[in-house]
Symmetry: C2
Subunit: 708 residues, 2 copies
């Protein structure tokens, strides 16, 4: 396979070709705009599929209807708006009209060029009256001009001489999704369109959010071999913005835009690429994952990374803890500017988080479990608001960002307030109580990452993360001379944090009651009853020892150094046998920890189960969008797992390569410097910049990279 | 106060006179029909108040909208239908029409005659043109003919000579209640009316339930001093019933109906009256409570006792565990036929309970937490379906019924299957696990009676009740030679039932985690923040030591004999200080237990806080209906508390009279025989029937009544 072939994902290489699946996988985006690879002629109901376009942060809202209301419940749903299939065109040849009768359209090829950041397609088209031609398309969402989506159309090999009229009749009806699947959710949104001189403004009726869309070169009479380059300029409008002049930018032509795109991707790959020897399919799959991570991340500080990126409607376009715990490690170590933008979003929604804490009669701030604009939208609080660990997850990410980049200025201006306000929340929500005969700081009535337990006392992961949150708050308070009067209370809470441990079994307790519950009857549960959440009432799931995903094991991945190898192994073995991996966030963590406890072959199996999750449609729901966190998880499996990356006063790396992977090469950025890491067989090496402030030492078969 | 004055409740004696409040208190009912004491001229929007009529079991349904759906959730709301103000009449004198312009109507008197079961009213009416007259009304829902509501109108003292035309234009619009109060709930229902020859059929659009209403003598031209007796015949139609001939009964005239009514109440009071010396207001208040208990109980085996009786729309007309734990003791000991009818309802809905257990992937049967037709309608399962203790509550009531009445035949035909199926559920839902170093039967992930904790492990009340349920199942299985193969498993589960106990503090654990949580910050919670459920998010409430109502104390009331007096006192003192009594089911239980642990004065204070709850509108929501369970609770406070009634191989009674109550006299029925009990000062006496199978012995200052 030639080098750049491993950067090309072709539709015909994939296991199936259903339109909705390809629309997701071949969606192009730039963190602001995402366009599904919809049928090129679909402008109305005539052609199949579920195409559409998304603008990060453009959502509609509606009141949440509760069967039974209670005080403090989240008030409104938020749903990302699916805009029309921008790339879809109406073609007319003489009296024939592709929007009036169905034209035969057969793909010749559909290739996502990961290296250049461009989607190349060509189709063989036959009209009802037998006119044939090829439609060639090249499209991308510009990485350098975030408002632009560009699509070039070319007509080739016609068997007729008339011109083809090409137009973009953008229309949008209310989008209504009805489903019982809680992973998708049922919502409706309604759009109002107002036409202006050379653009239109689309307004969501309830949220009153608006975007302006300008279609440049949307229409043309094309002769054979001619091209039309349509540029869509899309701008999310601020509430107080003057709607009359949303666009004031001069636009470059297609070649310039294309060149910029390629340069941007060149930089991206230089920083982010992971080279894997020994498995070309895996190599391509990993690049596909990294490509989608680059496509989905909001970069403007006002938007974040939706669970499905900008590729589909799954999870309503909401932002979760996925960003901090599954995506930010990749960005922090390879593209810290994007990490900074994503973290800035949390700073921006801090007022909503403060408001939410107040609604819960608590001090400080509590970030929304799921949101677009910062307000809590979780309609089932036991697996929503009760996952208060999101506060500490966000703080963990700020802290990791600082440690890896050294960017204290950002922490001072943005991060520190988040850290202080969340620390205040913990002091308010947690309780200093007598526990097992002594005073302990307990966090009761919460839900940890494992959503198959809910409203428990002392979730291990939560307590571990909160302890870190408090210590970091103390560090920053001391650094910036703030909250001197609170430091001792934070110190006491952190020092007395309760961690449950079953002395008899020698197992870390996921929560106070977990180990005392009956183990789920796995042996009598048929395969078709998974995922359990779709086949069992929550209260039945909750009362069992059964995990949807890594919880204690995730805490131990983040704080591996705090545990003996023996303890890590015992906990791993115990929790592995009660985990269903019904969440796509699970296997990557089990992979990392398998690497770290010395079972590289198991680590490889877990990794391979998910590295190609979307390309192979493992979970059968790629139609709703990519699984962004799982893509970030595949990076974790490789870098935190096989390469053992762990922060410990610097970067520690180790070689945990499984048999099947012969060689692994990648770059990390530490203190602003690139560090090239290579693993081969049992060796590990690193290459520092020519002029470096870093020092790499080899120890215990690994490498420890520190500041001089 | 003359004897029968203490049977007369007069509107002018009450603290306030708002129409909705009087409508509830003066509602008349017979367990099948309930009619609020609405404005006599209200047939449309012209007059105020919120009048209406109810037929037990006549409800509409609609799908429950969940913010986020999950498997096994209850599917439909059910809401009792508010029918028109049956007693409201349209009057016309010449050109004047009471339904077209507002006539002045001033009550002269409004008296509920508890002794006769009749509501007596008279009003002074003035028309816009100055015609004046008195409207005298006498109304009741017939206790002997459950289909009939009777209202007699008389015109007196006219200042004019024309006749008055009186008509009953029954119309009903869709009733829509919108509220955020979870104790009321927001629902809509829609009625369709079809007219037949001399009756109409009203059908609820979604549930497709129908009733036929015949209005007999609804219209007349009345001269002064003349009367019109209108009879409403109302019949809930079975699905397969021929709608053409719902009525085939000959009707008696008013005097006969009235006489029957008085005889019925004579019998009722002979069996049920409680005589209290020393406090006439209390005496009347208690009778008022017993009267409403008699009015609300469904007697046809297909209906039950709604939380608000048939007096209002609160709690949507649903049946809860209130029936078994707060109302059935009264009926079992005074009117066992009504108790039998209420328990028969549980037998009738057993198929729905079996279905529900299946939906929860469990064996046996799980009764709905709230329902009309037997299907679960609780839209918030942590304080609904998770209150699985209702299963054991129902079994407790069957068992008490059998012990007190000796009616084994009913247990064999109806009760035993309920007992077996619930026992199967427990074996399926509970888990035999290792707990505190030994094997224990644990019931995890449930909510006990105290709704300020949810989804806990090993709720003490639940485990205690389930143990009893299992033992009773074994007893019946042995008696009837059934389930021989399951007895040993039931025995093991019951014998190994887990009960949490805090050795250090010497306190019974409400659940595994309760005592390890922080105590609610009562000292910093202002009075206006109660009830807590209206001012704090559930997860904040749940994570604290705070009880809405008696839980452990309720278990100890039911099984007082299983605990040492010292333990009862310690637990009482502990739980009392963390209980808000935000539920109207709380204080009566604390009163009973205060009596039993020797604090009669505290028992009296708790009793007095609630004995007159509705007459004084203590909770400010009498407008939504009476608090039936609290009325039953006042009986418990008196009989289980002050008179110490406790089943122990017979009836044990004791004298715990508080200072303020000089004398207490009442009748209980045991093994079909009346037992007259009198308490005075420190004495207690009983009088058995002349020919008796019972034996009364005095012991420990109390009386023990057993079978010979």
């Amino acid at each position: 396979m030639a080098k750049n072939d491993s950067f090309k994902v072709r539709a015909q290489e994939l296991s199936h070709q259903t339109p909705e699946y390809l629309e997701t996988l071949f969606a192009v985006g730039n963190g602001q705009i995402g366009v599904r690879a919809g049928h090129p002629l679909k402008v109305n109901e005539l052609y199949g599929g579920n195409p559409g376009s998304f603008v990060n942060g453009f959502f509609d809202s509606e009141p949440i209807q509760y069967g039974e209301w209670a005080y403090g419940y989240a008030k409104e749903h938020q749903t990302i708006i699916k805009l029309p299939n921008l790339r879809g065109v109406r073609l007319q040849i003489g009296d024939e009209d592709s929007s009036a009768s169905e034209w035969q359209v057969k793909p010749i090829q559909m290739t996502l060029d990961l290296e250049k950041g461009v989607l190349d397609e060509s189709y063989k088209v036959v009209t009802p009256l037998g006119k044939t031609f090829e439609l060639v398309m090249q499209s991308f969402a510009s990485m350098t001009r975030s408002e632009l989506y560009v699509c070039q159309y070319q007509i080739k090999n016609t068997n007729f001489s008339e011109p083809i009229s090409m137009t973009h009749p953008l229309e949008q009806k209310a989008a209504i999704v009805q489903t019982d699947d809680p992973r998708v959710a049922s919502k409706a949104h309604h759009l109002r369109k107002a036409d202006y001189q050379d653009y239109a403004i689309w307004t969501a009726e309830n949220s009153q959010r608006s975007i302006a869309i300008r279609v440049i070169n949307g229409e043309k009479q094309l002769q054979a071999e001619e091209t039309l380059t349509t540029v869509f300029q899309m701008k999310l409008l601020e509430d107080n913005q003057n709607h009359e002049t949303p666009f004031n930018q001069e636009l470059a032509d297609f070649e310039v835009l294309l060149q910029e795109q390629q340069q941007s991707y060149q930089q991206f790959w230089a920083a982010s690429d992971i080279q894997i020897e020994g498995d070309p399919v895996l190599q391509k799959g990993i690049r596909f994952n990294l490509f989608h991570l680059n496509q989905g991340a909001g970069r403007d500080g006002r938007t974040n990374f939706a669970a499905k990126g900008l590729t589909g409607e799954g999870y309503e376009g909401h932002y979760f803890w996925d960003t901090e715990m599954y995506l930010l490690p990749f960005f922090i170590f390879t593209n810290p500017e994007i990490a900074k933008a994503l973290l800035s979003y949390r700073g921006k929604i801090l007022p909503q988080a403060k408001q939410r804490a107040q609604e819960l009669s608590q001090e400080g701030a509590l970030f929304a479990w799921r949101t677009i604009d910062g307000n809590e939208t979780s309609a089932y609080y036991p697996a929503g608001t009760a996952q208060v660990h999101i506060n500490a997850d966000i703080v963990y990410a700020f802290q990791l960002y600082e440690r890896v980049t050294g960017d204290q200025a950002f922490i001072e201006t943005v991060g520190s307030e988040v850290v202080f306000e969340t620390a205040k929340f913990w002091l308010s929500y947690g309780d200093l109580v007598e526990k097992e005969g002594k005073l302990a700081f307990c966090i009761n009535g919460v839900t940890g990452p494992d959503e198959y337990s809910a409203l428990v006392n002392n979730n291990f992961y939560t307590n571990k993360m909160v302890q870190n949150n408090l210590y970091y708050a103390i560090e920053l308070a001391q650094r910036y001379g703030k909250y001197q009067e609170t430091i001792s209370a934070w110190q006491q809470a952190a020092d007395l944090m309760y961690f449950g441990y079953d002395e008899q079994r020698g197992i870390t307790k996921q929560d106070d009651g977990f180990l005392e519950q009956a183990v789920w009857p796995f042996e009598t549960t048929p395969a078709e009853k998974y995922p359990l959440l779709l086949h069992y009432h929550p209260m039945v799931i909750y009362k069992h020892q059964v995990c949807k995903q890594a919880d204690t094991v995730l805490a131990q991945m983040l704080y591996t150094g705090d545990f003996s190898l023996e303890q890590l192994k015992k906990d791993y073995d115990y929790y592995e046998q009660v985990t269903t991996h019904d969440s796509s966030l699970s296997r990557s963590i089990f992979s990392v920890m398998a690497s770290r406890i010395g079972d590289s072959e198991k680590a490889y199996r877990y990794f391979m189960d998910t590295a190609l999750m979307d390309l192979t449609d493992l979970q059968k729901n790629v139609v709703d969008g990519i699984h962004a966190a799982n893509m970030g998880g595949s990076w974790l499996s490789l870098i935190y797992g096989f390469a053992g990356l762990y922060y410990d006063q610097g970067l520690r790396l180790a070689n945990h390569l499984p048999q099947k992977i012969k060689e692994l090469k990648f770059t990390l950025f530490y203190q602003g410097e690139p560090v090239k890491i290579s693993l081969k067989d049992r060796d590990i090496d690193c290459q520092l910049a020519e002029t470096t402030q870093l020092l790499a030492t080899k120890a215990d078969g690994g490498i420890w990279i520190k500041e001089r």
